[in-house]
């Protein structure tokens, strides 16, 4: 199952790549069929923790990726638009077996849940008005909203704690302000997402670049 809690974890600042000696033996590499099977398994058994499951599978059990490669790829996926796991399937599949590998990983990740959710949709179309089902879904939506709020709190804590120490230095208060403006315009005022992001993303990246330049 997908859960908001595993969505956009703040990726750690990428450490400089350590100069490691090339491995003596060629690391194992999955076949196209294995890529499909592994992503189908991750997709279907990743109840609430797709990320943790993917790491265990790829780094610890099969050793297709080192821990560093996994972290680097996943940080990249968190910043790219679209589903984190979708992006991860594309990047991992490509590194292992090129474009065909990406397609196999995507098919494994999306195919089985698509079939499942379409069946769920068909059942809902018939029984969606049953009071018991309605109450169950309301309870689940409430819990999922709680998980999202926890994610927000986890991500926001370092941001707000660091910036508010010196709110006027380096435009420090601007970064939390960007989070608040995004929240209000999208979540409360219901402005169109592309409109808001086309303004706020360049602004936010500009501030980050400026702060980086100031620190040097």
């Amino acid at each position: 199952m997908s859960s908001p809690a595993d969505a956009p974890a703040v990726p750690p600042a990428a450490p400089p790549p350590a100069p490691t000696a090339p491995p003596a033996v060629e690391p194992p590499r999955p076949t196209i069929a294995e890529l499909f099977a592994v992503f189908a398994a991750i997709s279907l058994s990743g109840f609430g923790g797709v990320l943790a499951w993917a790491r265990r599978m790829m780094v610890e059990r099969r050793r297709w990726f080192t821990a560093e490669q996994f972290n680097e790829a996943f940080a990249l996926c968190a910043f790219l638009p679209g589903g984190n796991m979708v992006n991860f399937a594309v990047i991992f599949g490509t590194r292992m077996r090129g474009p065909l590998g990406a397609i196999a990983a995507l098919a494994g990740l999306l195919g089985p849940p698509m079939i499942l959710i379409t069946m769920v949709g068909a059942i809902y179309a018939h029984y969606g008005d049953l009071p018991a089902l309605r109450r169950v879904l309301t309870g689940v939506a409430a819990a999922a909203a709680g998980l999202m709020l926890a994610t927000v709190a986890k991500m926001a804590r370092p941001l707000f704690a660091n910036q508010f120490k010196n709110p006027f230095k380096n435009w420090g208060a601007i970064t939390p302000l960007i989070a608040i403006v995004t929240f209000v315009t999208i979540g409360i005022l219901h402005w169109p997402l592309p409109l808001v992001l086309l303004v706020i993303v360049p602004l936010s990246i500009g501030v980050a670049f400026r702060n980086q330049a100031m620190r040097r």
Binding site: G83, V86, P112, Y124, A125, G139, A208
Partner: protein, 177 residues
């Protein structure tokens, strides 16, 4: 359910564009999907949107599988397929090229600033998504308590989120929500 090719094209265009603005995962697009599918196109009611979100949470698979459900609701199985491909196609192509380029660029100066610039936007979008989900559900005091309790548990205890869903579903089934 109307399965005209017109709504298929509308579905494809909307989700293809929206996916490119879903910074921080599939859930980042929840407010935009609600704005367009419920408020503008009237494809779903608030209740059906809230139900679709909950069903997607309960079904194994990535977060963005909710788009398949919306597509199915609007235009049947063709709608489900078109919507999913539109949501994943453009971003996959982007991930393909960025993934290849990033092997060359890792550690470059823009890499870090780009990421730090996106983090506050991702935080704002996640908060907005939670707000939209709360605002479309039929909220009772018990539902509000479930939201707060789940948030607290996720923040302060190491408990699998599946348990929160199971308890919330049972409370609902018992008629307490």
């Amino acid at each position: 359910m109307k399965s005209e090719s017109g709504s298929l094209v509308t579905l494809a265009a909307f989700f293809a564009v929206t996916s490119l603005f879903a910074i921080g995962g599939g859930n980042a697009a929840i407010p935009e999907m609600h704005r367009y599918a419920v408020d503008i196109q009237h494809w779903l009611s608030d209740r059906q949107f809230a139900d679709s979100f909950a069903l997607a949470q309960l079904t194994p698979g990535p977060n963005l599988i909710i788009v398949t459900l919306i597509g199915y609701h609007v235009a049947g199985i063709p709608g489900a397929v078109v919507t999913t491909l539109a949501m994943c196609g453009p971003t996959s192509v982007l991930a393909f090229f960025v993934g290849r380029a990033s092997q060359r660029f890792t550690g470059a100066a823009w890499h870090g600033a780009l990421g730090r610039g996106l983090i506050p936007v991702m935080i704002g979008l996640t908060a907005a998504s939670a707000t939209v989900i709360v605002s479309v559900a039929d909220y009772s005091w018990v539902a509000a308590a479930i939201t707060l309790a789940t948030a607290a548990i996720a923040l302060f205890m190491r408990v699998h989120p599946l348990w929160a869903f199971a308890v919330a579903a049972l409370l609902g089934l018992a008629g307490l929500v």
